[in-house]
């Protein structure tokens, strides 16, 4: 606002950013399950229905029960996000809220569909015949995936703001569809949706990998491992390809972000790829350099020019080490998960069985948390790499934040609530699997006797 005279303290600005990243970083893990778990569960229910297999049918019910809890937590953690868009960033929303409004309105419709069909799907499980019941699950799958798409288009606009004109700080013309389908959308949305399937799939498989490590190697646990693991493993190579595509998009649309991801100070040709290392005093130190690597990867040409951080004034550069390391971690996890998927595939072709060593199960047990870590890292690349802009090259974070004093107390309170929420969620999810143990050889009565709600 032109008359805005309240000055924001550095602490409050810091607190607002931390509060936003905490709530987003929390929500995204649950949202991955919201987007991908319904599909995996429906596959299990469908196979159970086709084959009458008790293991699949029991899995579907138990997953349904867990999903009920995760959805509730996802809904409330998403709600606080929509509050925070205004509580923390009124300077952005008051001006540009209308530009990103359309995808959010569509997302609202998708949320309705999701909640309605989830209510019917979970609560009417035993009141509906199997086929209509599974059909009621399909809108949940579609609306979960499409709501991830919608919200990421809004984030894409913050990376590539297009589709509006403004005069003197006031938006005068908007083309909502152009703003929504901005240049960042194809890579961001596809990469995110695939990531959701990796997180949900590997994490669900992790649960059964842990059980197998504890000696439960019966058919139920094997099936419970294999189904979600296969989904996630099939997605992994595609995800790496899309990640490469995303890096190309960043190289041409947000060159300063790419420079931060790789710690490149000087604009140059034939730039090497840095592995590891620390960025100190405008220089990348202790890194392993692969000559010409970055030029080659970013533009398919060993002599291509890479724009460095020196192309913008110091105040416009994102914090390099955070972005660089987040990127390295994401890529490393991506390749590690690819290796795990390949190991499984090779053994399966040879022996129609999982690798026998406990190391395999240990690796599979950490695959779920690792995928979630990759998502967090990826979002840090995207969001911290955009700094100091909240809307890239249009509005600075500092000018968007709520000027009210005392934001830091809000952050403290929110952090405490999230701590309790995390403990509660983990505890309840663990109890869900323990309170009603799975028998070694499940029978029909174990399936119909397991209450979904």
């Amino acid at each position: 606002m032109a008359t805005g005279t309240l000055a924001v303290t550095a602490t409050d600005l810091w607190a607002a950013r931390m509060q936003m990243s905490l709530s987003l970083g929390w929500h995204i893990v649950i949202a991955c399950f919201g987007a991908a778990m319904p599909a995996i569960m429906l596959i299990a229910e469908w196979r159970g229905h086709r084959t009458g297999d008790v293991a699949y049918r029991l899995l579907a019910r138990r997953w349904g029960r867990a999903m009920g809890v995760l959805f509730a937590v996802g809904a409330v953690s998403g709600t606080i996000l929509s509050f925070e868009m205004g509580l923390l960033w009124p300077g952005m929303m008051g001006t540009y809220g209308q530009v990103i409004g359309l995808p959010f309105a569509m997302e609202g419709v998708a949320f309705f569909i999701e909640a309605i069909f989830l209510g019917v799907y979970l609560y009417a499980w035993d009141r509906m015949p199997p086929v209509p019941h599974m059909l009621a699950g399909i809108p949940i799958v579609l609306s979960g995936v499409i709501s991830a798409f919608f919200v990421v288009t809004a984030n894409g606009w913050m990376q590539q703001p297009v589709g509006f004109t403004q005069e003197g700080g006031r938006v005068t013309q908007v083309s909502p569809l152009r703003a929504m389908f901005n240049p960042a959308v194809p890579t961001l949305t596809i990469h995110m949706i695939l990531a959701a399937f990796m997180v949900a799939g590997f994490a669900m498989a992790s649960v059964y990998a842990v059980a197998m490590l504890r000696g439960r190697r019966d058919r139920y646990h094997k099936v419970g491992f294999l189904l979600p693991f296969t989904v996630a493993a099939l997605v992994t190579p595609v995800q790496i390809g899309v990640g490469d595509w995303a890096a190309h998009a960043v190289a041409s649309n947000q060159p300063v972000k790419l420079a931060a991801m790789e710690g490149v100070y000087r604009t140059d040709r034939g730039v090497p790829l840095h592995l590891g290392g620390l960025y100190i005093d405008d220089e990348m130190r202790y890194a392993l350099n692969l000559p010409y690597g970055l030029s080659l990867l970013a533009h398919w040409d060993p002599n291509a020019e890479i724009v460095g951080l020196d192309s913008v004034p110091p105040g416009d550069r994102p914090p390099v080490n955070v972005v660089h390391w987040a990127f390295q971690i994401m890529v490393a996890i991506g390749f590690a998960l690819l290796a795990l998927a390949a190991w499984t595939a090779v053994t399966w072709r040879r022996r129609r069985d999982l690798p026998g060593t406990r190391w395999y199960l240990r690796a599979a047990a950490v695959a779920g948390p690792a995928a979630a870590l990759a998502v967090e890292a990826g979002w840090i690349v995207t969001e911290v790499g955009r700094q100091p802009w909240i809307v890239y090259r249009v509005l600075r974070v500092r000018d968007a934040v709520n000027p009210a004093p005392g934001l830091v107390w809000g952050f403290v309170l929110v952090a405490l609530v999230y701590l309790v929420l995390t403990v509660g969620t983990v505890y309840v999810m663990r109890r869900l699997s323990r309170d009603v143990p799975v028998p070694i050889a499940p029978q029909e009565a174990d399936v119909s006797g397991y209450k979904v709600i």
Binding site: H49, S82, P90, G94, V174, P176
Partner: protein, 341 residues
Amino acid sequence: MSLTLADVLMAVLWIGLTAYVLLGGADFGGGVWDLLAGGAARGRRQRALVEHSIGPVWETNHVWLILVIVLMWTGIPPVFAAVTSTLYIPLTLAALGIIARGAGFAFRKASTEVWRQRLFGATFAFSSLVTPFFLGTAAGGIASGRVPPGLARGDLVASWLNPTSVVTGLLAVATAAYLAAVYLTRDAERAGDQDLAGLFRHRALLAGLVTGALAVAGLLVLRADSPGLFRELTSGWALPFVVLSAVAGVASLVLLWRRSYLAVRVTAALAVAGLLWGWGAGQYPMLLPGLPLRTAAATDAVLAATLAALALGALLLAPSLWWLYTTFQRPHPPPEKRPEH
């Protein structure tokens, strides 16, 4: 005066708000009755009824709030920015209350041991009480003109801690409890539990009287605290709505007394909706002091695209919502008729 796209958007926003108050509000009210249901053994049947009634629908009812928030920043962005920045404190508390409530409810359902059910249940019930209160104080701050346009230009505390806000907050809690009792009476009757229906009938009568008294007291407070709003409510377009609300409120008490549990659902909803639309009509077209709808509204391209998206969405939503509510308002099939898998 011709209807503009901005008017249509405001009407849709107000419909969303009404739906949230009538449906989501009743879910909060269910939590209030859960809180007042007494010890674990005595309150078990009441709690089971509350849980059974709101379980399948609360997430859907909750989405109305999201829709209202999103329509605010899309349709009237400066209002959204002014409201959220000045009313930062009550809105943060309400948001945290929403988290505690949803998580508590879901966690309790997934728990088997009594101490866990108690802990999560208490979280759910307590936050059902405080959340509508804070949302109500925020509404009172806006209605009494204490939120000026601009970022955090209003008083961060007095904007929501003032006579009008406190009365509105209490009214929000009472309304929620009243609606819930009215709906639960019929739910208990349908489940064949006449005892419980009688219990909630008593509560609905009591809550109805309290709500009505609060509404009257509220008008008196308004006259002293925000004469502008009082004048708007008691004249012009707002008056018919306020009268409707009063008449429907009295009719609800009569219907409850005569045990017309289905009809009272309609009149109770009208009584509450009348107040909301009275407020809206009274304030129109001023959204915040010195900020009329015309100036606050988004560009026509945005309004048209959003309304079109919502219209298309409504085609999908209307039958789905109908299906949801009728599925769970029908009695369960008797156990022997249940499909085997």
